[in-house]
Amino acid sequence: MFSQLIQNLIDDTLKYSLGYFEAELWLCATIVALLLFRLISVDRLIPTSILALTGAIVATVVAWFQLTTTDGSETFFTGMLIHDQFSVYFRLFLSLFLALTIALTILTGIPDNEDSPDFYALLLGATVGMMIMATANNLLMLFIGVEMASVPSYAMVGFLKGRRASSEAALKYVVYGAGAAGVMLYGISLIAGMLGTGDMSLLADRLRIVADNGVAGLGDPEVRLVALGTMLVMVGLAFKLSLVPFHFWCPDAFEGASAEVGGFLSVASKAGAFGLLVRFLVAFSGDPSGAELMTAFGIGLGVVAMVTMTFGNLAAYGQSNIKRMLAYSTIAHAGYMLMAVSAMLVMQNSAHAGDLGQEINACLGGLLYYLAVYLFMNLGAFAVVALIRNYTFSEEIDSYAGLIRQSPALCVCMVFCMISLVGIPPFGGFFAKLMIFGSVYKAGDFHWSMYVLLAVGIVNTVISLFYYLRVLKTMIIYDRPADARAVRLPNLENVYVGLLGAFVLLLGCAPFIADGLNVIAGEAAGSIFSAIVTSR
């Protein structure tokens, strides 16, 4: 009997699980290879960066193939992870982003030849963690994913170890992150203990069992404890998403870290956290017993979203350091994206959830689309910052004066990215924002507060215009001071930023690409609601 079990386990692992886990496996293998190659000094022949890039591209390709073959939703690794279009979308997204980041670091040369195995190991390790975050189906995997994504990030922020700012940023990040992780773990322990399981697909059912009279309300102490646990877990996620009031680490960490790391954290870590947040919340919703509670959570997230984007946009005004400004912009964008989650929760837990499948999908689809566009525009902005830094050794906005005359490609890319970040057509950011705002508008039918959220979002879009335009004004209208260092990019770098800028534009005005992404995002969003197959 025991051997039968073992046989089952081996079959399951080899036949299904490892196949679904292929992209992550490639990344893990690359990490090991990076170390081994340094051990046997192969890294003098093949630059480690090339090796890492290869690993990332292989993972991207694997994920791309998974995208075309995945159908439905199943758990693997005995219920630890879940495999559906949503997972695959994030896998593809993260590995593509990883490849782009590695390409950027190759261009800017931020880890020198000696340190690059360490840097890329951290980068790849963090990416694996983020992938796990987006595929987690168990509270333990949730925690492990967050830790795997966070801990290497701390080290990456402190990677410029000779710099005082860098070490300060890393210290702040790690202490804040550890605190948030502690809070989150406490929440996990409360949920797991009260509901008696760590399996996220069972949470909604268990909540119904626990709740008196089949309606989860806070008057019931058991439900109250679960709600507290849920809130604490969301605090941990809010730290990853840098939502106000858990954003304090973000500007400091971004300013202290190098721009490449900043770009990576602002996009990838946020994407992983959003994936996890959606999974976690979806796990609780859908059951009528918890509908009222989860609607309230949705509205609460809406309020947090309002505060977050307003705070981020306003605080970005007074910044003179561009990385810090972009950090606040990241906070604001997290707020925009959170709007979609909020709208999704409100609709999914309304009385008419059954008829709203399309709209709920559209919410998540909007979020995924936004993430994809955000990848290009934010990475573009950070790439420009990193490249300019290599020439002027400065990250102050004032030092950008008149750059249009020296390196037009860079400036055009920056213009595209910034305008897209504001959300002006015909760039990708506009459509992404439009989709989310549209979903929130629809959610307004079910709760009035969504209209408020929408209004705040629109006002924020307007006021965010000013600080983005300030950078552009500095770059384009002002004259370059005579004593400033010249910025003349080689071709390869021009091509890179040009590519990012082009994507930002294409995602806005090329129907083929934009629609394609939209369809993929929509399917991925839909898959998360499909019935989960657990037994084979």
Partner: protein
């Protein structure tokens, strides 16, 4: 009062005392000592509720590993007696108030919970017996076998052995944590080592 509850009270008290003392004391070495007391007492608590493997792990990894690491770091960074790194009373008052608020939050949300009733409901809904499974007792300890099997995804405690069906198992975390540890150690080693140049 029987022996168990006596020891429970004793160790729970020590764990709390140690934790409070860590917060209150201002000298690093004393903090480390109190942390040992607190974590050690926690390990003892684990033993008391038959979680012997975990208690051992707590002692080995936490007390034996992490804490020694912390003590090393204390020694490495001690900057001499002339530096006064003490917290002002105002902040302690502030932090104490916040801590108490947090405590109040947790305690107030845990009061009034009918644990037994919930357990019964939960068990009934999932086809388990109302009994909380007691772990094996044997020469290999109370939980060793169960934990080991669970890591593989074989759950004798859920009656899986009879049906041959796999239950929630922890093979993946077990493996992936190793990758994590590898990455983390690389990072830690990078940060901690001095920059050296490969001139040769």
């Amino acid at each position: 009062m029987n022996g168990d509850s006596l020891f429970f009270t004793l160790f729970a008290f020590m764990a709390c005392l140690g934790a409070v003392a860590v917060v209150v004391s201002q000298r690093m070495v004393r903090m480390a000592f109190w942390l040992i007391i607190s974590l050690g007492s926690t390990a003892a608590l684990f033993f008391l509720i038959d979680a012997d493997f975990l208690g051992a792990a707590q002692l080995l990894i936490y007390v034996g590993g992490t804490l020694v690491l912390l003590v090393f770091a204390v020694m490495l960074t001690s900057s001499g007696p002339y530096l006064n790194i003490e917290t002002s009373p105002g902040e302690i008052v502030m932090a104490a108030m916040l801590g108490l608020l947090f405590l109040f939050m947790v305690v107030s949300s845990q009061t009034g919970i009918d644990w037994n009733g919930t357990n019964q409901q939960m068990a009934a809904a999932n086809g388990m017996t109302g009994e909380i499974s007691t772990f094996d007792s044997g020469s290999e300890g109370n939980t060793l076998r169960t934990i080991g099997m669970s890591l593989l995804g074989l759950r004798p405690d859920r009656g899986a052995a009879e049906t041959g069906q796999l239950h929630t198992g922890y093979l993946l975390p077990f493996e992936i944590v190793s990758v994590h540890l590898l990455v983390v150690l690389i990072g830690a080693a990078y940060l901690a080592r001095a920059k050296r140049r490969r001139d040769t």
